[in-house]
Amino acid sequence: MAAGPTIKKIMDTYKGKIRLVIKNYPYQYRDYSHIAAEASLAARDQGKYWEMHDLLLKRSPKLDRESLIGYAKELGLDTNKFAASIDGKKHAQEIERDKKLATDMDIYNTPTIFINGRKVVGERPFEYFKKIIDEELKNEKKF
């Protein structure tokens, strides 16, 4: 689960004022969570992380191997390389590192979002984020 449309709206509203960083926290009980994370990083290797990221959110939960390769093709990626990457779990270590970070930080849900370190657990309306971000921007001006 991700806060797809909300995050998009945040990035559009606060253009140039926000840096977005993604950590993978695929849930062990979902069928395609891991392979989808692999797919996003495989696309990153070919310079199209954010395109794939957006597409995965849009097409979720249709995230089986064949569909993922289809998305790679759609984005004009080298599908052979892409397929080899997800089949070989090339980024497993990276993903495991993120997962360990999540459990070390006592994160139990996705999406969990940190805004300058302030934790927001689960889905929230845009206005909720807006309030926090506005506070952060105001604080920044003070110092």
Binding site: Y29, T103, D106, Y108, N109, G122, E123, R124, Y128
Partner: protein, 435 residues
């Protein structure tokens, strides 16, 4: 799915009713029947579960006894439901609502002890197990939520939203109440539909618009985790059951207490614990502001229900998902016109008593500065709004409150009291490592 949680809620209602009337539920312990050994509740009237009127006659078929546990654990609450007590309660409430100035103002009390039911004693291991379950998203249907999603330690065990978002694609209809001091509550939920934490804990899990988890299924999910199986064995000397899950979660929740508030120290004799302004606020709280008429005792709640007619939350109008929730709950509680219901009837849904129309439970005020927004529908973002509402004599047409005519200064003192005197030491949670 919906049908399942609905029937579960119906069964739960029925059991509750039967327990409270001291009746015996007909439980068929049919462990020879293979179809039933997987801990499946079956209702003989399953075909008519949608027909509200039939519920009384549903016989509950369950593989295990001990289902009344939660009901029995609170004798006084049970007694309240007996007709003569109920009559007295109605009478008292009537007097209450008409009483002139402070006639029934209750006393503020310092912290003494956390009430713990005999049937579910606290042990460190049980609390730890309950804490793990509390944070575990296995308890929700699609693994997106845990209890902590809407009862977040960082938000005073609430979620900071006026109305919780709840299960994806659904919407709750009320504000997530804080869990701080729930151990002291005689009624749980804004409408008091549960009387013990053990009983309460399962509701959100199976509720279609909260965690949407089938309880039969979640038992199997937890049984599939060896660490949990071991922990239940150690804590309860037996296997994972929904009742034990609820008991463990309740045990954890009883540890969430607002400790060492300045008011508490003050009531214990430390006259310096409150600033002068807070002391003025306390006097207003007890007298002119008439707050202590309902907010008294340690947790500052009389555990009663009042229709103050707070303004409706506009989201009830604008979010069609809330309509679905309203109708669903009304249906489960046999409200005849549930299909056309558009507002929140409050405790009326539970009691069908006219005086309970739009009545909600008096909440605790301890740690109130940590649990904004306020009221059952989160309509007031700040304590200033709340004080303003009470000063004006509550919502239009209510028969409970009268205008207070507090001066600006007095409102400030009152707020100082609420913020300064009622804020306890932060409840520090050591987050568990989940299996």
């Amino acid at each position: 799915m919906r049908r399942n949680s609905e029937s579960e809620a119906l069964i739960s209602n029925h059991m509750q009713r039967a327990c409270h009337h001291g009746e015996k539920i007909s439980i068929i312990d049919d462990t020879n029947d293979e179809r039933l050994t997987n801990s499946t509740y079956k209702t003989e009237a399953e075909d008519v579960v949608h027909g509200p009127r039939m519920v009384r006659d549903i016989r509950v078929t369950a593989p295990r006894s001990g289902l009344c546990m939660s009901g029995i654990s609170d004798r006084s609450a049970r007694a309240l439901l007996r007709p003569w007590f109920a009559l007295t309660a109605v009478f008292t409430a009537l007097i209450f609502s008409m009483a002139p100035l402070g006639a029934f103002a209750g006393d503020l009390e310092p912290f003494n002890a956390v009430p713990v039911p005999e049937q579910n004693p606290q042990t460190p291991e049980k609390i730890e197990l309950g804490k793990k379950l509390f944070f575990d998203r296995r308890l929700s249907g699609d693994g997106t939520m845990s209890c902590a999603t809407c009862h977040d330690p960082d938000h005073g065990f609430s979620d900071g939203l006026d109305i919780s978002l709840s299960y994806p694609t659904t919407r709750n209809w009320r504000n997530s109440p804080t869990l701080l001091n729930v151990a002291f509550q005689k009624y749980l939920f804004h409408d008091g539909r549960a009387k013990t934490l053990e009983e309460q804990a399962l509701f959100p899990m199976m509720s279609a618009f909260e965690m949407n988890r089938n309880l039969d299924f979640v038992e199997e999910v937890i049984r599939s985790v060896p660490e949990y199986v071991d922990a239940f064995q150690r804590v309860f000397g037996g296997e994972v059951t929904r009742e034990r899950m609820a008991m463990a979660i309740a045990a954890f929740e009883r540890t969430l207490v607002s400790r060492n508030t300045p008011l508490d120290r003050y009531l214990k004799g430390d006259k310096k614990a409150l600033s002068d302004d807070a002391k003025k606020g306390l006097a207003l709280f007890r007298e002119k502001g008439r707050c202590a008429e309902c907010h008294y005792g340690f947790s500052l709640s009389d555990d009663k229900f009042y229709a103050l007619f707070v303004p409706e939350n506009p989201e009830h109008e604008s979010d069609p998902r809330i309509d679905i929730t309203i109708r669903f709950v009304a249906k489960v509680y046999h409200y005849d016109e549930y299909r056309t219901l558009t507002e929140d009837p409050g405790r009326y849904l539970i009691t069908k008593d006219k005086k309970d129309w739009k009545a909600f439970r008096t909440p605790t005020l301890l740690d109130i500065s940590r649990t904004a927004p306020y009221m059952h529908n989160g309509i007031f973002p700040t304590l200033d709004d709340v004080i303003e509402f009470f000063d004006k004599g509550g919502g239009k047409g209510n028969a409970v409150l009268k205008p207070l005519e507090l001066s600006t200064k007095e409102k400030q003192y009152l707020k100082t009291f609420l913020v300064e005197a009622l804020t306890g030491e932060p409840v520090v949670i050591e987050y568990p490592k989940l299996p």
